[in-house]
């Protein structure tokens, strides 16, 4: 369970270009559910999930993850918590270019030092489960859009995280791929993962598998359906 108490985020505090990207926000995200943060562009969705996912620290307020306050942790522990708990699928998928798909999948596990053979097997299993085994050793630059998405999801899962976070995953996808993504999200949920997605795409926000929809407006949750 992830709890946010009075969390705020201000960029460039005290300078003329100060932006309050997140006003005092209280929020609880329950386990093993699919939560969607919706709202127009600039409403603070990305800011909110960077804080939820321990990618950034709030300017004030507390973030409590499974009972532990993580907002005050030293950076290296915040990184460790992030590595252990969260898997990320980015808006532009953000694969490292010039290396193979399987190496991309293995990257998040390097700092852990998982023995090579075991890590490789695990990465291969993940890629096969998304039907990508035959592409594992291809340079990611020659993969198609849909393949890139699947590699990105496999990478998010390699450290076996409890929570998968996806930022606008469907922004550049056609209808068929959106449906495919939603199916994967539902499948992850069924396997006991917590899934958090930001989107202003009605195909996602209106999907039947969504457990909870949090709509943001001007850096605050406007209304929350329980």
């Amino acid at each position: 369970m992830i709890e946010l108490c009075a969390v705020t985020k201000t960029y460039n505090a005290g300078r003329p270009n100060e932006v309050v990207a997140l006003g005092a926000t209280d929020l609880t995200i329950s386990d093993k559910a699919l939560t969607v943060f919706a709202g127009p562009s600039g409403s603070g969705k990305t800011t909110l999930i960077t804080i939820v996912g321990c990618l950034a620290r709030p300017t004030s307020g507390r973030v409590v993850l499974n009972g532990e306050a993580v907002s005050g942790l030293p950076q290296r522990f915040l990184t460790e918590v992030r590595r252990r708990t969260f898997g990320f699928v980015f808006q532009r998928f953000n694969l490292v270019r010039g290396i193979s798909a399987i190496e991309n999948v293995m990257l998040p596990a390097y700092p852990i030092g998982t023995p090579h053979a075991r890590l490789k097997t695990r990465a291969m299993e993940l890629l096969s489960s998304f039907g990508m085994a035959h592409r594992a050793h291809f340079n990611v630059e020659i993969l198609s859009g849909g393949e890139v998405q699947r590699v990105a999801i496999a990478r998010a899962l390699v450290n076996d995280p409890e929570v998968i976070i996806a930022d606008e995953p469907t922004a550049s996808l056609d209808g068929e791929r959106v449906a495919h993504f939603l199916a994967i999200a539902a499948d992850l949920k069924a396997r006991g993962k917590t899934v958090i997605v930001t989107s202003h795409d009605p195909r996602v926000t209106g999907a039947a598998t969504v457990d909870r929809l949090v709509t943001l407006a001007d850096g605050r949750p406007a209304d929350a359906t329980p």
């Binding site: 505090a13 709030p58 300017t59 907002s71 005050g72 942790l73 030293p74 950076q75 290296r76």
Partner: protein, 331 residues
Amino acid sequence: MIAHPPVLALVLASTLSALVMVPTFVFALRLLARWDPSSGNEEQLKLEKTTYLVSTLVAFVAVVELASLAAFAFNADRMAVLFVGAMCAVGTLNASSYGFPTLVAKIAVFFAAFVWLVLDRTDNKGRDYPFILQKYWGILLLALLVVLDAALQLAYFLDLKASTITSCCGKLFGDAGLGAGAELAGIEPRLALVLLFGGLAITIALSFGTARSRLMGRLLGLASPAMFAIAIAGVISVISVHVYEQPHHHCPFCLLKREYGFFGFLLYIPLFAATGSGMAAGLLSALPARQSLSDVLPPLLGRLSILTISGFALFGGLSLWKIMASRLTLM
């Protein structure tokens, strides 16, 4: 000044180290004044980010200082041909009054950097920055030492002039000479051996208790530098003469030469490692206990004491072996 390439290399190394430590010193002052881990404001985030730079810089300085400590001793040996009366490093170091102080400063910098890095690693294992303030007080001290070392070394090299008349190990550590060196060399061999092996026994015994008792740990912190001094005295008074198999050759530097199979390295590397880890274990035992380190500290102290024990044991064993195997008999 003698613009010998190793001299230029050493001056470059110490100048760079000092240049690195000056902004680090200023940063340490800022951190000590502004550190507030409960805040998420940008200044705190920036301080936190910069601590990574400081750790990297100190590690860099430690490596550089270790390399220059060895190069400094070798260079002194190599430059001996330039000075009347010098046959080895001692003569070169003695050719200016800054010589030995520079050597001592270099050793001090090495130990300080070593202990600081152990403290840094420990602090990085605690989830609430357990020793951050102690660490940055330490940086202030370390920076001063590094700058002092650079200044002394520069003064030393500037002061050196070819054909200075100096006295070498024969005089400095000669049985008939005056001063601290001669005093050390003149120690009764039996007494020196008792001090050496007695000291080693006590230090090793303390190391065995370090993981369990904080008191033992603190005592180890005091005992290891003392042991370092005793060990050097032991080298000067008995071990060296047995290696050279000459009753009046008391030099701690000639041991590093090829003629003696680089035995000095075998002897000094374990000694430095043991002393450094003993001091680090002592510091960690002397700092206040922290809840966040309760799982981390005991195994760390265990590892440090193993290093201390094996280093001192190796030093003692090698010395004993050389004394036994030597054709020289003083006792």
